[in-house]
């Protein structure tokens, strides 16, 4: 069941589109439900599809196409490090190595305590702050150094 809070947010997104184009809100709806529940189970996707009165497969297509949707559990904090060219030139490899050593995980793995998941990201459009990463998709941390990464990890309780 979608929570009342999710429904309220989805309804706000629906105001952006014509009444007969409910499917247009699927990008937001999946984002809203994922933010609330941590990841998108098959059940979440079905619920979103039903609410928007669209075929389940069409919602599934969207959820699998865009890489910020997570179709598997990603722990409490999903850390996505950009390793594309501008970040690579400013040594994102060192940041990845540091995170992997510190969290004891490789890419696409969840730490033993279920707290962190590490992902490799593509260009996030903020290359002046390279190297950089996002936490749970919506908070970006720029100008990373191993030291600043430690501080950020400490702040994630």
């Amino acid at each position: 069941m979608l929570s009342a809070e999710s429904i309220e947010k989805i309804e706000y997104e629906l105001t952006k589109y014509p009444a007969d184009q409910r499917q247009a809100a699927v990008m937001s709806a999946l984002r809203i439900v994922q933010t609330e529940r941590g990841w998108l189970s098959q059940e979440c996707i079905s619920e979103v599809a039903a609410y928007l009165r669209m075929p389940e497969i069409a919602a599934m297509e969207v959820a699998t196409f865009y890489n910020m949707y997570d179709l598997e559990p990603v722990g409490k904090y999903k850390i996505t490090v950009c390793t594309n060219i501008s970040c690579m030139l400013r040594d994102s490899d060192a940041i990845v190595d540091h995170l992997q050593a510190k969290l004891g995980v490789g890419f696409n793995e969840v730490s033993a305590d279920g707290k962190f998941c590490l992902k490799e990201g593509e260009c996030m459009g903020a290359c002046s702050g390279a190297p950089l990463m996002t936490v749970n998709n919506h908070t970006m941390y720029e100008f990373l150094t191993p030291e600043s990464v430690d501080k950020i990890l400490e702040s994630l309780k």
Binding site: L30, R90, E122
Partner: protein, 446 residues
């Protein structure tokens, strides 16, 4: 749903220090000189929204506005460089139903981050530009599609829209006239391909972002099958200035064939990466100086001047180039989105190309076989070279595969994927040969 927190964010966004703005000509980022650049009050204080009000209340004719945009020489700032005024003239004037406007803020081309600064430092100028375009083209509804990864900037823009709505700059019957326009922010969620305008339109409709065949072009069949005008963020943000000062004044800021100012995103091996808004025709050297030069006192090796879909240039090629459409094309590359990726002498071009190839492989939408399969081939071949298993004939194979992607796909991602391969091998062939012969990099020995 602009929360208090979001509103606070608009007023809290701080501008960079003034000294950083030296040598720049701020049009799209004109609020950067002020304390709270993103706020409505700041924009109004600088004369913001006066052009929208003037055009709408004086009922200035669409054809006159489009003429100014044509005269300005403004060319699409998303990378294609198509003349904006001409694009506007493609929109059908009479249409029985809703026409749409779309702003493309889905910048995901590696090294591109200029639109982000417009969204977070001067969102109201973008809103005014979009509203003027809506008035001109008769579009009732507009969407700004924002790259999902810059979520905090999406929220700033949403809050700015709320401010503009509350102040009567967008909404119903503006300034007591019968002109109405609704503008909304929508977001991507991690797909480079959605920067392609028809993939973006599919995404707005709630579908996976796979480009459409053209024709029909968006001007006749766009969002929800209705006539739609799609422009880049920086293009829209240039509009209010053009109408305030006239198209001619904008054109004169630049050089022939490249009117106005341009935001250059400078990243990679420079001391001070960032966006620099300068007049078209500014020299590469000046721009590099603004970024405080190549970092750590090292020598310049190569530059990708407009994002990876533009050919890489050696230091010699770019050193005396001017940064404008003709200047860069004469020098052997192109302006693209003005995304300048700077590489110093320690950069291994083979490894750099490997990362770029992985990006295109990862982001190919899978619709066209040459791109879906070809990008995978290219990545795997470069990967085997870096693993020490390369063969000398791989270089011809890479060129062959890339040439067979280029021009054989629905959208330009295929061409974009081929460009770095062809240009890296062309200009740095020795490095590739060395890697194949020795199983290690000529540059870092690893």
């Amino acid at each position: 749903m602009a929360t208090k927190e979001m509103k606070a964010r608009v007023t809290k966004t701080k501008a960079p220090v003034m000294s950083a703005l030296k040598g720049q000509t701020l049009l799209c980022l004109r609020t950067l000189t002020e304390k709270n650049p993103a706020s409505l009050a700041t924009y109004e204080q600088l004369g913001g929204y006066t052009q929208l009000k003037r055009l709408v209340t004086e009922k200035v004719k669409a054809v006159d506005i489009i003429t100014q945009v044509k005269v300005s020489g403004l060319r699409g700032r998303g990378g294609a460089g198509f003349p904006t005024g001409l694009k506007w003239s493609f929109m059908p004037r009479y249409f029985d139903g809703t026409k749409y406007l779309v702003c493309n803020s889905d910048e995901g081309e590696p090294g591109t981050f200029k639109d982000r600064d417009i969204l977070r430092y001067n969102p109201h100028q973008l809103i005014e530009g979009m509203a003027i375009a809506a008035y001109t083209l008769g579009a009732r509804v507009g969407y700004n599609y924002i790259h999902g990864e810059i979520w905090q900037d999406y929220e700033i823009f949403e809050a700015a829209l709320q401010e503009a709505r509350a102040a009567g700059y967008i909404g119903e019957n503006l300034f007591g006239t019968n002109f109405s326009v609704d503008l909304y922010a929508v977001h991507g969620y991690g797909a480079y391909i959605c920067g392609e305008e028809t993939a973006l339109i599919e995404s707005i409709e709630g579908k996976k972002g796979q480009p459409r065949f053209k024709p029909p072009f968006p001007a006749s069949y766009g969002v929800f099958g209705k006539p739609t005008n799609v422009n880049n963020t920086e293009s829209f943000a240039s509009i209010p200035w053009i109408l305030q000062h006239g198209g001619q004044a904008f054109a004169e800021l630049g050089v022939p064939n490249s009117g106005g100012t341009k935001l250059f995103s400078v990243s990679g091996h420079v001391e001070k990466p960032g966006n620099f808004e300068v007049k078209m025709g500014t020299t590469f050297k000046e721009l590099l100086d603004m970024a405080d030069g190549v970092w750590k006192g090292r020598k310049l090796k190569a530059v990708i001047p407009g994002g990876p879909s533009t050919p890489v240039m050696t230091a010699d090629m770019i050193m005396n180039a001017t940064m404008d459409y003709d200047g860069l094309s004469k020098a052997g590359s192109s302006l693209g989105a003005g995304s300048m990726i700077v590489m110093d002498e320690t950069t291994c071009m083979v490894k750099t190309l490997k990362r770029l190839s992985y990006f295109f492989f990862e982001e190919s939408c899978g619709q066209c076989t040459p791109c879906r399969e070809g990008t995978g081939w290219v990545y795997r071949i470069i990967n085997r070279i870096t693993e020490g298993n390369g063969k000398m004939e791989d270089l011809d194979l890479l060129t062959d595969v890339s040439s067979n992607i280029s021009g054989r796909t629905i959208c330009a991602l295929g061409d974009a994927a081929a460009t770095p391969v062809l240009s890296f091998i062309k200009h740095f062939r020795l490095e590739f040969e060395y890697y194949i012969q020795h199983g290690k990099s000529m540059v870092d020995g690893k």
